[in-house]
Each structure stands twice: as structure tokens, then as C-alpha cells.
């Protein structure tokens, strides 16, 4: 089989790339291959699906006729076995061979399971796919208690989902705090207390040493000598980029697949985007996997443009995220955990109101932040951070409740299109 553009992966990055390519190149064949049988859906919504907040029909990214209408071929339910970059050839597990001109690796990631919690044990689940949710829903019928291993984003989303389904949930976190990759200790304490108030038990500084089972999960053993009964264990111990199909090839693999400023791998006609791609991070200044939806979409669009003859530089991604549980929203960005004399850290905590803001500055530039409770200014601060704007003039107002667009717009590093003169003009005297 032959195609011009081959895209492995059918989620945010893959679909964005395919759409971008189609806008620029109407004729050459585009083929998407995915191991899942479903049309493209929003993986990040699966936890909302588990919680019963959205229905399965709300998960689909595109209309049913998307592939046909855009003249995109899709081989769904087909797993890629290997890539032979020298021959520009992809082999699938069902024995097909696909010849490509340009290849995009948008294979995403897979939940990691620690050694002591085997994925194969009945009642142990990760949370990423529709099938995961379907299997969990089936399994929790009659279940009363759940243990979640890991206090990261996926762990807490799993806990929230199961709690909404009426289960008693305990989250066992090895680190001293939840969301250690996303927020600092102060923010985590607010968060933990909000989760506890809503019936989710949080056990920090404790690890699971083993699983009890009798054909299906019955409990976990903890490193403090105690144990917990449960009928389901959900694992949120991080996600590993799906790089397996490139192992042993010319394509360089690090944690993910390193991609340059055009999102090209070290092989000329192979690109990478999304949760598998290790692309430039604005704050860290190096190639990092920032596995978030907005980055996946942007990377997919950029890769798609460059695969179809464009020369578009990727702006770079940011370590950032946004979540909300039980009416407590939190957004963090960049190096929120920075310590040292070179950093200028300003924070404002109102424990009783569950509000906390912290910004980290270096050489008068914003490099990191955490906002809990009041997140309204996040987008403005994101713009400041992304554009590396000098904030020496407005440093004191960055944490203000009424900090707004008018504070940002005068900064010289903010791109012209965000300037007022394009939108707002005066009919009287100019000032």
C-alpha cells in the first residue's frame, strides 16, 4: 500500500496534522493509522466520562463524515508493528506494508504501571481510553471502595470520577503532596483539604507494596504495615511516550522522540507531535515532553504544515496545566517550583478562601506561576511568560485581583496584534 502522508495516531496531534495538511494539499493521499477502533475522540475527556459528566457521544472530536469529507483515509483498529525509515516503510501487526513519503509519529503515551501493581490483575486499571472507561464501569458494578495509586493528574481525575460514581476512594501518594508535577506544597495543601472535605481520602508519603487478590483485586498493602480493602485499583503513575515502534531504527529516541524546531525528527521525512514528541520548551530551553492537549494540537498543526512543504517554526511548548475539582480550580505554568537567589518569588495566600497565587520571576521576567481559586488572570500571565516580557514596571500588580489586559498591553514584548490600536481607536485627539 502507498500513501503520501502517513500519520500514526488519531488523537489531538494526528488529527490536527491531517487537517492542516488537507488545507494545504488537496490531492496527495493522507492516511491515518490507529490501534483504536474509534474515530478520533478527546482522551482528556475520558475522566469526565468516567465521572458521568459527559456521555460517550460527547467525546468525538469530529463529525462522523470528517474523514470522508476531508478525503482522509483511516485504518482504525490497526496496530503499527515497526518502521523502516531507510525504506520509508511501515509494517502493521496484521501484516500490511505501507509506503510513505512523509511520516508523522503521533502515537501518544501509555500509562505506566509500577512493578508491584500488575496491569494484568483483574480490577487494576489505567485511565486513558474509552475502552478503559467501559471496562472500569463494568467492573465497579457492586464495588464499594477504590484505591488510587498516585496523586498526579490522572490519579486525581480517576479518584474524582470514582467518587462521583459513588465509591469510597483513597488516594495513596508516594510523594509528600498530590500533583507534585503541577503545583507546589502550599497549593497542594489547599487542594488536599478540598478533596478530603468531599470524601476523597488522601494518604501522602505512603507507597503501595503489593496487591491482594482472589482472582480479582481485594486490597492493597502499604509500606506503613497497614492495608486497605478495595475492589478496584486505579493507577496514575505517569505516562510513557509510545516510542516502541521506532526502537532499533535510525530515529533517535530519548524519553520521547526529540523533534527540532520544525518538529522533524533526526530523520528527514519523519516528524513527531503530541504526547510522544520531545519538543522545545520555552522556559527550560531544551526538548521536553509536555503532554497536554493544547501543545498536541499546536504541534500537530505545525508538523502538518512542514510535512506539506511549509517552513513553520514551532513556538515551543510550556509546562502548564489546568484542572478543577469540587469548585477549586488551579492553573500552573513554567518553573513554579523555582528556588534560589536568582529568583524573585511573590505569593499571596488566603487559606480560608482557598485562594493562592504565586509568581516566580527571574531577571524581571515571569518564569513560573501557580493560581488556585481565582484563575481569571492566567491567560494574561501566560502571554507575559510566553513572550518573555519585561515586567519590571508592573511587577507589583501581577497578583492583583483586578490585574487585566490593560496592564499587559503596554509591554513592549507583547506582539503587535494584541495591541489596542488595532482594535480601539479614538476619534478625538490621539494620545
Amino acid at each position: 500500500m502507498k500513501t503520501h502522508y502517513l500519520i500514526i495516531g488519531n488523537c489531538a496531534a494526528g488529527i490536527s496534522a491531517a487537517e492542516t495538511i488537507r488545507k494545504r494539499d488537496k490531492s496527495n493521499p493522507v492516511l491515518i493509522v490507529s490501534d483504536e477502533t474509534y474515530p478520533a475522540y478527546a482522551r482528556c475527556l475520558t475522566s469526565y466520562y468516567l465521572a458521568g459528566i459527559v456521555q460517550e457521544k460527547d467525546l468525538w472530536l469530529k463529525q462522523e463524515n470528517f474523514y470522508r469529507e476531508n478525503n482522509i483515509d483511516a485504518m482504525l483498529g490497526t496496530r503499527v508493528k515497526s518502521v523502516a525509515p531507510k525504506n520509508s516503510l511501515v509494517k502493521t501487526e496484521d501484516g500490511q506494508e505501507i509506503q510513505y513519503q512523509k511520516l508523522l509519529i503521533a502515537t501518544g503515551g501509555t500509562p505506566q504501571f509500577p512493578e508491584q501493581i500488575k496491569e494484568s490483575t483483574k480490577g487494576v486499571f489505567g485511565l486513558r481510553t474509552i475502552n478503559d472507561v467501559r471496562r472500569i464501569q463494568e467492573h465497579i458494578k457492586g464495588a464499594k471502595t477504590a484505591v488510587v495509586a498516585g496523586g498526579g493528574l490522572v490519579g486525581l481525575k480517576s479518584a474524582y470520577g470514582l467518587r462521583k460514581r459513588g465509591l469510597k476512594v483513597a488516594v495513596v501518594v508516594k510523594s509528600p503532596q498530590v500533583l507534585s508535577q503541577m503545583i507546589d506544597q502550599t497549593a497542594a495543601e489547599l487542594f488536599q483539604s478540598r478533596l478530603r472535605e468531599n470524601g476523597i481520602e488522601i494518604m501522602t508519603g505512603i507507597d503501595i507494596t503489593g496487591v491482594k487478590e482472589n482472582g480479582s483485586v481485594t486490597g492493597v498493602m502499604l509500606d506503613n504495615g497497614k492495608s486497605l480493602d478495595c475492589q478496584i485499583i486505579m493507577v496514575g503513575k505517569g505516562v510513557q511516550p509510545n516510542t516502541q515502534i521506532l526502537e532499533g531504527t535510525e530515529v533517535k529516541i530519548d524519553w520521547g522522540i526529540p523533534a527540532d524546531e520544525y518538529l522533524r525528527t533526526n530523520v528527514e521525512n519523519i516528524f513527531a507531535a503530541g504526547d510522544v514528541a520531545q519538543a522545545y520548551d520555552i522556559i527550560k530551553g531544551e526538548q521536553v515532553v509536555n503532554a497536554i492537549w493544547p501543545s498536541a494540537v499546536e504541534q500537530g498543526m505545525t508538523a502538518g504544515e512542514n510535512m506539506s512543504g511549509g517552513k513553520k517554526k514551532y513556538d515551543g511548548s510550556l509546562n502548564m496545566n489546568s484542572i478543577e475539582f469540587f469548585d477549586l480550580p488551579v492553573i500552573s505554568m513554567g518553573n513554579f517550583r523555582a528556588k534560589g537567589p536568582e529568583f524573585d518569588i511573590v505569593s499571596d495566600l488566603h487559606k480560608e478562601k482557598y485562594q493562592y497565587k504565586k509568581i516566580v520571576l527571574k531577571d524581571n521576567r515571569l518564569v513560573g506561576l501557580v493560581l488556585v481559586g481565582d484563575i481569571r488572570t492566567a491567560g494574561l500571565l501566560c502571554s507575559i511568560l510566553r513572550n518573555r516580557a519585561d515586567v519590571s514596571g508592573i511587577k507589583d500588580s501581577l497578583l492583583d485581583v483586578d490585574f487585566n489586559y490593560s496592564d499587559v498591553v503596554g509591554l513592549k514584548e507583547i506582539p503587535k496584534e494584541y495591541m489596542t490600536d488595532k482594535i480601539y481607536c479614538g476619534s478625538g485627539k490621539e494620545n
Binding site: P294, S322, I331, R376, L380, I423, Y424, S427
Partner: protein
């Protein structure tokens, strides 16, 4: 594309636009009824202070909208026909990714509903926009950029004439 513009020399910060916007987004669409609604209807335009001058700000309906790229639930869409960045609250789950990336800060999180509120150009309904209609000084203007420039030019001529 048609946009909401502001002649900032004419804005007096009366906030009539804010009120009209909230009423437009209420169930009953009347001020008397809107104040009693729970949750309170949310305005999507905010009058800010800009160098000591008022500045009404709402969604700018960017050419390359960051919110559309950030939205995983398919809430945010840029209409190819009107250019409006339309948000569909029915699909919103309140992940607030759009709030995180909007460079104008023009998307408001509505926590009690787990949704966001932003200007949809009065859902692209025909005719005047609520904020524009409510503006007593004519500071707010809805139309093509060229039409706005034309309007400003005329106003300048008039004020120059008066000055002479």
C-alpha cells in the same frame, strides 16, 4: 470580518454594555428578571481602566485563536463564515484550558456551572449587538474594520469642524 470596536474617546465607563450583555445572556432577557436568576447571568464584556481611560474588553475573535487549539471538548470553534469564535456551553466541561491561554483574559470561568463565558457576538444573531445597542455615546461599534475607520474619519472631521 465584522467585529466590535470601540472609539475610546467616547467611552465614559458607564458600564451599560456590561449590563446589556448580562441581560442578553439571561433566560428572561429583561433586567428585572435577570437580577433574580440563579446563577446570575454573566456579562462577557468588562470595562477596564486603561491608562486612566475606560476600555470595554470582550473576546477579540482572534484569527488564530489559542482557545480553539486548547479546547478538548470541542466547545470553541472559529466560524469560517462569520469569523466569530463561537463557544458552545452545552459541551463545556469547565477544564479552563481556554482561560489558561487567552492572551486577552477575555474568557471568564464560571465555577458554579463548570463552564466558561465569552462573547459570541450575541450568538451571531442578525442585527445590532446588545452591548453596541446599549452604548449611550456611540463608543461601541459593530461592523467591518473599514466601516469603523470610515466612521472614525467622519467623527474626526466633525470635531475638527467644531474646533475651527
Amino acid at each position: 470580518m465584522k467585529e466590535i470596536y470601540c472609539d475610546i474617546n467616547l467611552c465614559m465607563a458607564c458600564r451599560s454594555c456590561e449590563l446589556a450583555c448580562a441581560v442578553e445572556h439571561s433566560k428572561v432577557k429583561s433586567l428585572a428578571g435577570a437580577v433574580n436568576e440563579t446563577p446570575r447571568p454573566k456579562q462577557r464584556v468588562h470595562v477596564l481602566g486603561m491608562k486612566g481611560r475606560p476600555l470595554p474588553l470582550s473576546c477579540r475573535h482572534c484569527d488564530d485563536p489559542a482557545c480553539v487549539k486548547a479546547c478538548m471538548a470541542g466547545v470553541m470553534k472559529k466560524s469560517p463564515k462569520t469569523g466569530t469564535v463561537e463557544s458552545n456551553p452545552d459541551k463545556c466541561v469547565g477544564c479552563f484550558m481556554c482561560v489558561m491561554v487567552c492572551p486577552y483574559g477575555a474568557i471568564t470561568p464560571v465555577l458554579e456551572m463548570k463552564k466558561v463565558a465569552k462573547c459570541n457576538h450575541c450568538e451571531d444573531k442578525e442585527g445590532e449587538k446588545a452591548c453596541v445597542s446599549a452604548c449611550p455615546t456611540g463608543a461601541l461599534f459593530y461592523g467591518e474594520p473599514a466601516e469603523f475607520e470610515e466612521c472614525l474619519k467622519k467623527r474626526k472631521q466633525v470635531s475638527a469642524g467644531k474646533g475651527a
